[in-house]
C-alpha cells in the first residue's frame, strides 16, 4: 500500500517546479478580480438605501437573473450583493482552473508519453495522481486564504472567510471530478470536455433549483458552494459536505487509476473511419474538420449569451431603472442594447482569433510541416485561415444577435425589429476584420509573440470598453482599439466614414500579411 504512493512528495516538488509561474498568474488574476470588483461596488453601492442598490435588488426579482447568478440571501446589503453577484463566477472560474490543472498533469502527460518515463522510475503507481491532487488541495487552500484576507477589510472576516473557502473547497471538488474523468477518458480533450460538461450540468441543476425547487440546489456542488450564503447567513455545513464529496471523488479516482492499464481509459476508445472523407481532400477541409467542434461550442455558447441578455430585456417596466444601476449614464433603453451589442461583438471575435492563430500554433508544434511539404503554397494556407476567420466572425456575430433577438422578441412588449438589431450588430463586423487583419500581420511579422500580443490586446479592448464607461474614462481612450470607432447604433447615427476606414485598414493589414508571410521562414518543432 505504501509503495503505491512512494515518491509522492518528490513529484509534488516537480509539479511545483513546472507550475510555479502559471499558478502564480492564476491566483494573481483571481485576486485582482476579487479586489477590483469590491472596489467598483464600493463606489456604486454605498449603503442599502441607495437608489442603485434598490434598483439592483429589483432586478434580482427577475427569475432569469436568479437562474444566471443565483439568489440574494438574507437582507440585501452591499456585502451580500457583492457575494451574490460574484460567487458563481468565481466558483466556475476556479473549477475550470482546477480541471485544466489536474488534466494537464495526469491524462495529458500520459498521452504525451511523459508519464511513461516517470513510471519507469521508483515512484508508486498512484504517486503522480496523489502529488497532483495534494498540490491542487494546497493551491485551493492558498486561494481561499488569499481571498479571505483580500476581502477582510471590505466586508469583515466572517463573510470574507466564508466567501473564500466556498470558492476554494468547491474548486477542490472539481479537482476530484477532473481526476475521475482523467481516468475514464483516454484522451486529454475527452477528459477536459467531460469535466467542463460536468461543471455546466451542475450549474444548470443549481439554476433549476434556485428558480423552482430549492432542494435541487443542494444536490449540485456549485449550488452547495453558494448555499453557504457568504456575507449573509454564513452557514458552514455545506463546506463540510463539499469536502466530503471531494474526498469521495478522489477515492473513486484512485480506485479507477489502480484498475486500469497505463495509457488507456476506463471507457474504450471508438475506432474511427478507415478512409479520409470529403474533408480530407484539401488543407481547407482539414482546417474545417479540425475546428468544427470548437466552432459548434462557440456557436452554442454565444447563442446562450445573447439569449440570456434577451431574457433580461423582458422586464420592461423596471428595465430602465435596473440598467441605470449598472450603467448610471443610461437614459434610454436603446443604450442597453448598445452595451450588449458591443460586449457580445467583442466576445464574438475570440473564435476567429483562435482559428487564425492555429496557423502559428500548428507551425510551432510541427503539425503543419507535413501540410507545407505537400504542394500547398504559403498564400493558400494563409488565405484559408484568414478566409475562415472572416466567415467565422460574421457567423458568430449573427448567432449572438439571433439569440438576443429571438428571446427579446418573445418577452418584450415593443420588440425590436430584426433589421434594427441586425444592423446594430453588423456595424461591429469591420472592427472584427481589423482584429483579424492585425493578427494576420503579426503572424507574418513576429509569429512567436502573435498569440500573446493579440490576446493581451483583446483583454485590453474588453476591459476598456466594459469598464471604461463605468469608470468615466474619456472616450478618446477607446481609440486605441478598433471597437472604439464603431458608431453605436441605434444611439449614434451611422458614420459611413468610420466603417469605410475600418474596412480599408483591415484590407491593408491583410494585404501586408500576405506580403510578410510569404517572406519569412517557417519554424517547425524539431
Amino acid at each position: 500500500m505504501r509503495s503505491l504512493f512512494y515518491g509522492t512528495f518528490d513529484l509534488m516538488k516537480f509539479v511545483l517546479r513546472k507550475e510555479r509561474i502559471s499558478t502564480a498568474i492564476w491566483l494573481g488574476v483571481l485576486l485582482f478580480l476579487t479586489i477590483f470588483v469590491a472596489i467598483a461596488y464600493g463606489g456604486l453601492y454605498s449603503d442599502a438605501q441607495s437608489a442603485a442598490m434598490i434598483g439592483m435588488v429589483e432586478m434580482w426579482a427577475n427569475p432569469a437573473v436568479v437562474a444566471m447568478l443565483g439568489p440574494i440571501f438574507g437582507e440585501a446589503s452591499p456585502a451580500s450583493l457583492y457575494a451574490s453577484s460574484m460567487i458563481l463566477t468565481m466558483v466556475i472560474t476556479v473549477a475550470i482552473m482546477n480541471i485544466f490543472f489536474v488534466i494537464r498533469h495526469t491524462r495529458a502527460e500520459e498521452e504525451k508519453g511523459q508519464g511513461e518515463v516517470i513510471r519507469s522510475l521508483p515512484v508508486g503507481r498512484l504517486a503522480n495522481l496523489a502529488a497532483v491532487l495534494s498540490f491542487a488541495g494546497l493551491m485551493n487552500l492558498a486561494l481561499s486564504i488569499l481571498i479571505m484576507f483580500a476581502l477582510w477589510g471590505f466586508y469583515g472576516v466572517a463573510g470574507a472567510a466564508m466567501f473564500g473557502f466556498s470558492i476554494g473547497v468547491s474548486g477542490f471538488v472539481f479537482a476530484g471530478v477532473a481526476a475521475i474523468f482523467a481516468n475514464l477518458s483516454a484522451s486529454r480533450t475527452g477528459a477536459i470536455g467531460m469535466s467542463i460538461g460536468a461543471v455546466l450540468f451542475f450549474y444548470m441543476v443549481r439554476a433549476m433549483g434556485d428558480v423552482s425547487a430549492e432542494w435541487l440546489s443542494f444536490t449540485s456542488p456549485i449550488g452547495l458552494a453558494a448555499q453557504t450564503q457568504p456575507m449573509a447567513g454564513n452557514i458552514a455545513w455545506p463546506l463540510f459536505v463539499l469536502l466530503g464529496i471531494g474526498i469521495i471523488c478522489i477515492a473513486v479516482a484512485f480506485y479507477l487509476n489502480s484498475i486500469r492499464d497505463f495509457g488507456r481509459g476506463i471507457f474504450a476508445e471508438k475506432t474511427g473511419r478507415r478512409e479520409g472523407g470529403f474533408l480530407m481532400k484539401s488543407p481547407e477541409g482539414l482546417l474545417f474538420k479540425l475546428t468544427r467542434r470548437s466552432t459548434l461550442f462557440w456557436c452554442a455558447g454565444l447563442f446562450m449569451l445573447g439569449a440570456s441578455y434577451g431574457v433580461v430585456m423582458g422586464e420592461t417596466e423596471s428595465f430602465l431603472e435596473m440598467i441605470q444601476t449598472v450603467m448610471p449614464n443610461v437614459t434610454d433603453v436603446r443604450i442597453f442594447i448598445v452595451m450588449i451589442t458591443m460586449l457580445a461583438s467583442i466576445m464574438a471575435v475570440v473564435p476567429s482569433l483562435a482559428i487564425l492563430l492555429k496557423l502559428v500554433g500548428d507551425e510551432k508544434n510541427g503539425r503543419y510541416e507535413q501540410v507545407f511539404a505537400g504542394s500547398v503554397s504559403r498564400h493558400r494556407m494563409l488565405a484559408a485561415h484568414i478566409g475562415y476567420a472572416l466567415i467565422q466572425s460574421f457567423v458568430m456575430l449573427f448567432v449572438v444577435m439571433f439569440g438576443l433577438w429571438v428571446t427579446s422578441y418573445s418577452v418584450m412588449d415593443e420588440p425590436i425589429a430584426f433589421g434594427e438589431m441586425f444592423s446594430a450588430f453588423m456595424v461591429y463586423l469591420p472592427a472584427s476584420f481589423v482584429f483579424i487583419g492585425l493578427t494576420a500581420l503579426l503572424i507574418g511579422l513576429i509569429p512567436k509573440r502573435a498569440a500573446v500580443i493579440m490576446y493581451s490586446y483583446f483583454g485590453l479592448t474588453f476591459t476598456l470598453m466594459y469598464f471604461g464607461p463605468m469608470a468615466d474614462l474619456p472616450k478618446e481612450m477607446t481609440y486605441i482599439t478598433p471597437f472604439g470607432f464603431v458608431p453605436q447604433i441605434p444611439i449614434d447615427t451611422v458614420n459611413p466614414w468610420a466603417i469605410v476606414s475600418l474596412l480599408l485598414v483591415s484590407a491593408a493589414l491583410i494585404a501586408g500579411s500576405f506580403f510578410l508571410y510569404r517572406r519569412r521562414s517557417l519554424r517547425f518543432a524539431a
Binding site: R17, G113, S120, L121, A525, A526
Partner: protein, 232 residues
C-alpha cells in the same frame, strides 16, 4: 535478473501478448527483436510494472514486476524509444530530476563525462531539442545511474552514427562491469554486435536465438528474414 514465464496480456478483446518467455542472467546483454506491433514495447511495459499481466509471471531481481515496481525501479534504468519531455524545463534539469528520483545521489563526474561524450548541451529548453537530442537526455540519465539492469527500448532511434558509436561503447562498458542489459532494437547489426543472446517476438510469442543459430544463418538479418518468411 529477468524472468518471464508464459506471459499473456490482453487489451480488452485484443491479445497483445500470447506467450512470452524470457530469462536474463546477471552480466548478460540480451537482444529483443521483432516486427512493429509484435509486442516488444508491451512486454517491456509489463517488465516496468506499468502494465499488469493478464496471465503468467514476470519478475526482476526475483521480485514481482507489478507488486514490487517501486523497489525494482531503484536498481534499473530505462530508456524509451520516443522520449517525451517537458517543454519549459532544460535538458539538464530533466536529467537531474530523473537521477534524483532514484535517491542514490548524483555522480556529477559521471554525468558530466557522459554529457561531454554525447556532445549534448544541457542548458537549452526541452522544446528546442531534436529527436536525437531528446534521446540523449534519457540515455545520459540512464547511464549516469548505478543500475543493475538497463532496459533499453530502441534507444538509438534518432541518433547520428557517431553518437550511436558512443552508445555502443557505453553498453560495452556496462557489460565489462558485469551489469545486465535488455536491448530492444530494429538495428540488427547493433544487436548482433552487442548481445550474447537474442529473443525474437512474433504475434505476441517469443523464441530464443543463440549466437550459434546466428552463425548458422550467416547473419542476424538473414535469420530474421528467414524466420518471418517461414511464418507467412
Amino acid at each position: 535478473m529477468i524472468e518471464i514465464k508464459n506471459l499473456k496480456k490482453n487489451f480488452g478483446k485484443m491479445e497483445a501478448l500470447t506467450n512470452v518467455n524470457m530469462e536474463i542472467k546477471k552480466g548478460e546483454v540480451v537482444g529483443f527483436i521483432g516486427p512493429n506491433g509484435a509486442g516488444k514495447t508491451t512486454t517491456i511495459r509489463v517488465l516496468l510494472g506499468i502494465l499488469k499481466a493478464t496471465e503468467g509471471t514476470a519478475s526482476i531481481f526475483g521480485k514481482d514486476t507489478w507488486k514490487d515496481a517501486v523497489e525494482i525501479h531503484k536498481d534499473i534504468a530505462y530508456v524509451p524509444g520516443d522520449v517525451a519531455l517537458w517543454p519549459n524545463l532544460t535538458g539538464g534539469e530533466v536529467i537531474d530530476f530523473f537521477i534524483n528520483l532514484r535517491k542514490k545521489g548524483i555522480n556529477k563526474e559521471r554525468r558530466d563525462e557522459l554529457i561531454k561524450r554525447f556532445d549534448f548541451d544541457p542548458s537549452k529548453k526541452c522544446n528546442t531539442y531534436s529527436k536525437g537530442n531528446r534521446q540523449k537526455v534519457a540515455l545520459i540519465a540512464a547511464f549516469s545511474c548505478d543500475a543493475d539492469l538497463y532496459i533499453l527500448d530502441e534507444p538509438t532511434s534518432g541518433l547520428d552514427p557517431l553518437m550511436e558509436k558512443v552508445f555502443v561503447e557505453c553498453v560495452q562498458e556496462l557489460k565489462k562491469q558485469g551489469r545486465s542489459v535488455l536491448l530492444s532494437s530494429h538495428i540488427l547489426s547493433e544487436v548482433e554486435k552487442l548481445c550474447d543472446r537474442v529473443y525474437i517476438i512474433r504475434k505476441g510469442e517469443t523464441k530464443e536465438i543463440s549466437q550459434k543459430d546466428i552463425k548458422c544463418a550467416s547473419s542476424l538479418e538473414a535469420l530474421f528474414g528467414e524466420h518471418f518468411k517461414e511464418a507467412k
